[in-house]
Each structure stands twice: as C-alpha cells, then as structure tokens.
Amino acid sequence: QKEVEQDPGPLSVPEGAIVSLNCTYSNSAFQYFMWYRQYSRKGPELLMYTYSSGNKEDGRFTAQVDKSSKYISLFIRDSQPSDSATYLCAMSAKGGVSSASKIIFGSGTRLSIRP
C-alpha cells in the first residue's frame, strides 16, 4: 500500500469552476502537508503549506487537512486556464531544521481548465 494515494485524473473542468483535489494517506506521523504545482518540463513548485489539521486560504486556493480521517484537499475557486498543470499532494513527518525532512509525494492529478 502506498503511503499517499492520489487520483491521477486527468480532470478537465470549464473556466470559472471550483476544482477539488484530494489525497489520502496512511502514515499518522505526517505533520506537514503541502500542495505542489508542476507545469510540463518544470520542477514542482510549492503552492500551499499546512502544519497539522485545519484550513489555510491563499487567494483562490484553500487547503484543508483532516488528520483524523487522514485526508487532505485543495480547492481552487474561479479556476483559470493558467491553473492547468499537475497538482501533487505531499507530506513529511518532520520539517524542523535539525531533522531529515524528506517529502512523500502523491502521484499527481493532471488538471486542465477549458476556456
């Protein structure tokens, strides 16, 4: 069983729609939860970062973490064609300066926003 499960999609929605992306995980030691966006032929770019449970909002993006259900979500409001990319959920058990902080990634969801 993978530590992090993510639906690979592809997911195609019309411009302006609300997008919901989700991941589940099995390792209860994860404390740091991230969403990365990756454009074709580029490296992953950090989009949202959450520590422990709760919600975090940044513009059109909202990240939710439910540690009791081991479930994380990313919502994109008023989606734009420029949001078309692969979205990777990611998590780590440690994030402190003196700790190894390898990131465990989901497989990524390919998202396409139709104009």
């Binding site: 970062y49 994030g95 190894a100 497989s107």
Partner: protein, 117 residues
C-alpha cells in the same frame, strides 16, 4: 536570485554506460535533496545532504547510485552501470536549513530526464 539548476536537462545513454547528473542548489542552502520519478510512478526521495554530509540515504535504490556533495556546494549523482529501470526524471531540491516548518521549504530544479536504452 538564481534557482536550483540541474545539468544536463536530458541524457540518453545505453544500458551499461555511466551517467553523472549535476545539481547546483540555491546559494546558501545547506540542505540538498535528490528525488526521482520513474514512468507512471510518484516522485520518490533518494537522499538528503546537510552541507557535505549524507543525512538520509534511505531512498537510494542500490549501490549503482553514488551521490556526492563536494564542499557542501553542488552535488553529483552518478549511475554506474545504468540499467533500463533507471530511466526517469531526476529532481534536485534545496532548502535553507534554518528555522522551522516552511522556512525549510524545498525549492526544486527543473529535473534531468534520463533515458536508458
């Protein structure tokens, strides 16, 4: 400020040959990570340097892979001899290494696409 750079961007080699990938982290970043994504799979951690020391190499697949970080600056990842299953995209990331949580954000390079024929 320059981001993480990787060289080459693409390498095509034959099975049994040797390939060396290079990563230049963001200046001043103590932490350097190698990850790779093989076809159809998720990005997986390979190893983590703190300055010139290997902090965690639990993700290295076997002894055909050798990573070094000279003087705590750039890093190389050598695959010798390369096998077909080594094909994929190899990413390097770096983080500052000071402070907690998001201050340890990992910045990723564009990756090196390795094809082993």
């Amino acid at each position: 400020e320059a981001g993480v750079t990787q060289f080459p961007s693409h390498s095509v080699i034959e099975k049994g040959q040797t390939v060396t990938l290079r990563c230049d982290p963001i200046s001043g970043h103590d932490n350097l990570y190698w990850y790779r994504r093989v076809m159809g799979k998720e990005i997986k951690f390979l190893l983590h340097f703190v300055k010139e020391s290997k902090q965690d190499e639990s993700g290295m697949p076997n002894n055909r892979f050798l990573a070094e970080r000279t003087g705590g600056t750039y890093s190389t990842l050598k695959v010798q001899p390369a096998e077909l299953e080594d094909s994929g995209v190899y990413f390097c990331a770096s983080s500052q290494g000071r402070g907690q949580g998001i201050n340890n954000e990992q910045f990723f390079g564009p990756g090196t696409r390795l094809t082993v024929l």
